[in-house]
């Protein structure tokens, strides 16, 4: 199967590594660096095979020195290369954020556009597997809040490949988040819906465009990453059990946020539930709802948001699964929204 149109089922991990390989083939300026991304192929499988194919000149296993190597990626990007650098878990941004939000994100602006920063920061997000509060966060809003970076997160393998291609080709820093529950690593368990058909050839999924994951007329469910799958499961149940057709929007790009696609859907349905697994307050779900409010769209019932409450992510499954957004919570919120009037 080597024609440009061939289609195969793939995991997000595989789709990411395929996109990386294809861009490395096309552009000698693309290099990949990070912890355990070489020999191991990435803790989350997204750099599998790259070291064998491109060698140690372009695929660097780094020491545990994020401040140093992410800073170096900014410098490489400024010097005309296209580094793709991995921060193994987004939770680790605490040791290296300066290079990300004060350097990468501001290089273009401070230089009046003279120096760009075409780098990609890949980083895993999300919990649900008992890894506790320093290995389960999402931090969508943290990254989305800071100007100068684009932030994307695929909900499926098709989008993962296309977004990665677009991210590498972008002239600006792109934070490429990938959700552990969707990654397709055997040892983590994977939401089946994330494994999708992936075209063999090159294609881009545009950064800054949300997707419509399911069309519907009665209520809009907005999610990203894993919560798209919660929304789709809720939409299925609504259709089967309630005769309600929900539209599901996949945010896909956190920054810049595609408000238009969301607003168009809510204008049509008049009801909205936003689901994200980041912390609630000052969060992405609130940002989406504020945009709907600002647009003056009349709603048939109050907008609802489901997010992780404002507490550290607990370890015990008895606690974590009680607070982590899921399909049941999404369905309950949607039913409440349908049953209520504003």
């Amino acid at each position: 199967m080597n024609t440009a149109t061939a289609i195969r089922k793939q995991t997000i991990a595989k789709a990411m590594s395929e996109a990386l390989a294809s861009e490395m083939e096309r552009d000698p300026g693309v290099v990949v660096l990070g912890e355990d991304i070489g020999k191991l192929g990435g803790v989350f499988g997204n750099t599998g095979g790259l070291l064998e194919r491109f060698g140690t000149e372009r695929v660097f296993d780094t020491p545990i020195s994020e401040t140093g190597f992410i800073g170096a990626a900014v410098g490489m990007a400024g010097a005309g290369m296209r580094p793709v650098v991995e921060l193994m878990f987004v939770d680790f941004f605490g040791v290296c954020m300066d290079a990300i939000y004060n350097l990468a994100a501001k290089q273009a602006y401070f230089s009046g556009g003279q120096v760009s920063c075409p780098m990609v920061l890949m980083t895993s997000v999300g919990g649900g597997y008992g890894d506790a509060g320093q290995h389960s966060q999402c931090l969508y809003a943290t990254f989305g809040h800071l100007p100068g970076m684009k932030v994307v997160i695929p909900s499926n393998a098709h989008d993962a490949k296309g977004l990665m291609l677009a991210a590498i080709r972008d002239e600006n820093p792109v934070v490429f988040m990938f959700h552990k529950a969707l990654q397709g690593m055997g040892w983590l368990g994977t939401v089946a819906g994330s494994i999708t058909d992936v075209p063999d050839g090159e294609y881009e999924v545009p950064i800054g465009k949300a997707g419509v994951a399911r069309e519907g007329t009665d209520i809009t469910l907005v999610g990203l990453g894993i919560t798209v799958h919660h929304c789709l499961a809720a939409a299925d149940a609504l259709s089967r059990e309630d005769g309600v057709e929900a539209e599901v929007i996949d945010i896909r790009t956190i920054a810049p946020l595609d408000r238009e696609t969301i607003l168009a859907s809510v204008r049509k349905t008049g009801r909205v539930v936003v689901v994200d697994d980041d912390y609630l307050s000052c969060g992405l779900a609130g940002e989406v709802i504020a945009s709907i409010a600002e647009a003056g769209i009349p709603l048939a019932s109050p907008p609802q948001r489901i997010s992780h409450p404002d507490i550290p992510i607990p370890f015990s499954p008895a606690l974590e699964h009680a607070v982590l957004p899921n399909a049941e919570m999404t369905l309950a919120a949607a039913r409440q929204s349908i049953g209520e009037r504003a």
């Binding site: 296993d61 020491p63 020195s65 680790f92 597997y129 509060g133 055997g186 368990g189 606690l319 009680a322």
Partner: protein, 333 residues
């Protein structure tokens, strides 16, 4: 060291055995619900599990000198250090099982063990314990106590910025801090040799004007001697030291690790050098009675069995408890 009947050597032996028995009890419990297809999210103990098999000498050789009032910060691989520091074994097991009787009611799990009664804490970000250990050392110094602090880190953490900042600060402040590097040769899959500019991290101490001691052989007695000096020095107010211990990780980085990155035969070679049977042999050769060592083993095994029974017999926490302890109430006016 070849004198016989030294109580600290029996203590070290018993605690090494206890630590190994603890990890041996964790293994099947962790795999419950995760077979035939390994899925980290499943079973009574979800999440990552970093075992300390092989690294027990680093825990006992250092902690044998510590008092309750001394502070230890440990890493994502904390069980051996926690046990040697005297963390409540029942509540530690219960925390790892996510039960309401756990050290923090199931909020933290295996990478976030806190036992304030013995001044022990650990965490999951590399080199993260360095700062808090320095702070605890300075708190002791400023209050005129002779308590000390020990920061355990892996050799991979010596390439993290926090390591270098704290080394400098500790030296400038003359803090009663001992930094212990457990060099097991790997950070996940990346070998120390491939990512570290110096072959011995102890050499880095010179850059911060503190003693740097390198200990080969994963030997509890040698560690005991070196740590004794460094800790005594800290108690005397003479400042920090760095101790680098060559040790071995007898399991994967975490449970489920395929370890394909290891050279052929490496693990067998390491297992053949398992420090626990070696130490038993040495103690016997030094004239310690086999019956005494058997008794240590029995105590250790019993303590672990009791702890696991306590953990399994404890309830899961009430979901509402997820919302408590985010803040604590003010206790002083």
């Amino acid at each position: 060291m070849s004198k016989t009947n030294q109580p600290h050597r029996l203590w070290m032996y018993e605690n090494m055995v206890k630590s190994r028995a603890f990890e041996d009890a964790i293994k099947p419990a962790y795999l419950e619900g995760k077979t035939p297809r390994f899925n980290m999210a499943r079973g009574p103990i979800p999440g990552e599990m970093h075992l300390s098999d092989g690294q027990e000498p680093c825990a006992v050789g250092v902690c044998a000198h510590l008092r309750e009032s001394d502070t230890v910060t440990a890493t994502h691989r904390p069980h051996h250090a926690a046990i040697a520091k005297g963390v409540d074994l029942d509540r530690m097991a219960a925390e790892i099982f996510g039960r309401d009787t756990g050290l923090s009611g199931g909020r933290g799990g295996h990478m976030h063990l806190f036992d304030a009664s013995v001044n022990f804490a650990c965490s999951g970000i590399i080199a993260q314990g360095m700062g808090p250990a320095l702070g605890a050392a300075m708190a002791a110094k400023l209050r005129g106590s002779d308590a000390v602090a020990v920061a355990y880190i892996g050799e991979g953490a010596a390439n993290q910025g926090a390591f270098h900042e704290v080394m400098n600060l500790a030296s400038v402040w003359g803090a009663p801090l001992v930094i212990v590097i457990e060099d097991n040769g790997y950070g996940v899959s990346v070998s120390k040799a491939s990512c570290t500019a110096v072959s011995r991290n102890a050499d880095r101490a010179a850059a911060y004007a503190m003693p740097g001691i390198h200990i080969a052989g994963n030997d509890p007695d040698a560690i005991y001697d070196a740590a004794g000096e460094a800790i005594a020095r800290a108690r005397r107010g003479e400042g920090p030291s760095l101790i680098e211990i060559e040790t071995s990780r007898l399991e994967g980085h975490f449970m489920g690790d395929q370890e394909a990155y290891r050279p052929e035969g490496e693990k067998d070679r390491l297992k053949a050098m398992d420090p626990i049977p070696r130490y038993r042999e040495r103690l016997l050769a030094d004239g310690i009675d086999a019956a005494e060592l058997d008794a240590c083993e029995k105590h250790a095994q019993q303590a672990v069995e009791t702890a696991f029974a306590f953990a399994r017999g404890s309830a899961l926490p009430d979901p509402a408890s997820a919302f408590t302890s985010v803040f604590v109430e003010r206790t002083t006016a």
